[in-house]
Symmetry: C2
Subunit: 327 residues, 2 copies
């Protein structure tokens, strides 16, 4: 592969992030981020990504020297399911850009090669390349956010599965009689532990009359409660929010115990804002994994927060571009 | 590796099976099988395995010519968890031979090299080497019997996991509020779908007053009901047994949907006596997988019965010996 730099793009339901990453691995520079505005459609988003990418290249080259051809290409991370061969979004509940040929559009506009992969796969690869899972032989990444996603890397190889949709841990069943999930099933892990579902469970509890500071934190507008609000309430010592957080961690632990018993990895790295809850999350989560998974498999597996909370996705997207060229 | 033949041993809770398998792959010859009698302890079992192995070698050589040195070694498949490095059984609920150095004992007695692997891993490898999953790039095997086990082969490589206990699908949670499992947890797949649990669920239904031919089939001794009895009742058109079988298949489908969404394999092969139920099992099972897993992942995955219902384990044990020598 020619070129000292690679661009990374992380397309999220909330933000678009673009950065320059050294092709040999290293911290991203010239990070740009702005609101996605998914509802305005994919064409406008591509325009803004291209504009940000050009700015990132200019800033990088003016600081580091060199020319545009020093950029080997652009790696794109995007919510899925995706058609990786064609570079097309199949369906994205959080974006609504179904059938859009995102890879070709960005590649054409920037006149450089582009790669496309699942956002959770990219974040996992970022943590393996430069973060908490550096060099780990078998690494599972789990992204906690609007959705629950995942990725798996074995001996440096991304395990994408037969149709490119491996490690959709958010849609594994932990209670077949449980909560209705956005995907239409009952009892998916995501139906309990995604940000919006944490907020929904909080609202349900409050409607059942649970006492809490939460209504006050949102000036009585329960619809404004988010996972962050719940965490704020935990920090204020709110009993209801603390119980809810512990229960969420235990449920997440059940999903991870399934991964431990199936994959038996050396490490699970958790990526996303929820990991800021620290011990409020990790202590009950680890307890729950221990209770459910085989002792030898639990012992072999470290479960840790990611080391790149804001940049795992964009760094990993660039990294996936690099290994796709080398492979 | 020197030698045209390899011995395979499949140690089961019910039977010990020994056979000779061509090292280059091929149908087993001179198959010997006898009751395990686990309760008589591991030393007696090793003695009988060694006796059977000697008989298998004699029979094979007298039919095919050659000498004892034409046998390269012996591959052992055994319920786990196992310590693969040391060749020791860690715990086996169905055998009770905890801590027994099975690989060394058999190797010493036969004066030939031996390998040891999980019985479900061996059965999966057998189906990949010579059976329904021949040459499939990503193959999950699920063994349905006294327990529910599993194995995974990617590009011809056994995925054993960081501590050798990967693919313990029987102990993945499908309902965290569900049935108590032998392992102490609630709602494991095995707690619903193993042979003994199918029988237990039948007994529970009968105690609740469900009408069925089952009591008649066991002369009123409900304790004598097995998964086979339930299947016999299905064949007689029994409504209760048919519903129970369909529910079992649906629950198995939930566990397999989790595997489809996590691993996204090209094929899942089901091994074990229950697969004799044919469409009674497969039709509702596939329906359940389709309902729960991502359409693209379901489309990419064939779910089929094994082609070596009685010999996958013993053939695979020999096969694992071969690839362990070559790797």
């Amino acid at each position: 592969m020619k070129g000292r730099w690679v661009l990374g793009v992380d397309i999220g339901g909330t933000n678009l992030v673009v950065a320059a990453v050294p092709a040999a691995g290293g911290q991203p520079t010239a990070i740009r981020s702005e609101a996605t505005h998914a509802e305005r459609g994919p064409d406008g988003a591509v325009e803004r990504i291209v504009k940000m990418a050009n700015e990132v290249m200019e800033e990088t080259l003016s600081a580091e020297g060199g020319q545009r051809s020093d950029f080997a290409g652009i790696g794109i991370g995007c919510p899925g399911p995706l058609n990786l061969e064609e570079g097309v979004i199949v369906t994205t509940p959080n974006l609504g850009w179904d059938g859009f040929p995102i890879r070709g559009r960005i590649s054409d506009a920037l006149e450089m090669p582009a790669s496309l992969d699942n956002d959770a796969t990219c974040a996992t690869f970022g943590e393996w390349w430069l973060g908490a899972g550096k060099g780990v032989r078998s690494l599972v990444g789990v992204t906690l956010g609007t959705g629950i996603g995942g990725g798996y890397i074995e001996r440096g190889r991304l395990m994408r599965g037969a149709s490119g949709s491996a490690f959709e841990i958010g849609h594994t069943t932990i209670n077949f009689e449980g909560r209705l999930c956005g995907c239409g099933n009952r009892g998916c892990l995501e139906a309990y532990t995604s940000g919006p579902n944490i907020a929904a469970r909080a609202r349900e509890g409050l409607k059942h009359g649970e006492a809490s500071v939460l209504p006050r934190l949102v000036d009585g507008d329960l619809g404004a409660i988010t996972a962050e609000t719940v965490y704020d309430a935990v920090l204020q010592g709110d009993v209801f929010a603390t119980d809810l957080m512990r229960e969420t961690a235990e449920l997440l632990g059940i999903g991870l115990a399934n991964v431990v018993n199936l994959v038996n990895p050396q490490m699970i790295v958790l990526v996303g804002g929820v990991t800021r809850a620290g011990e409020y999350l990790f202590a009950p989560l680890l307890e729950s994994v221990k209770r459910r998974a085989f002792p030898s498999a639990v012992e072999a597996c470290r479960i840790v927060p990611g080391a790149l909370p804001d940049t795992a996705g964009v760094v990993g997207a660039a990294g996936v571009f690099v290994i796709d060229r080398v492979a």
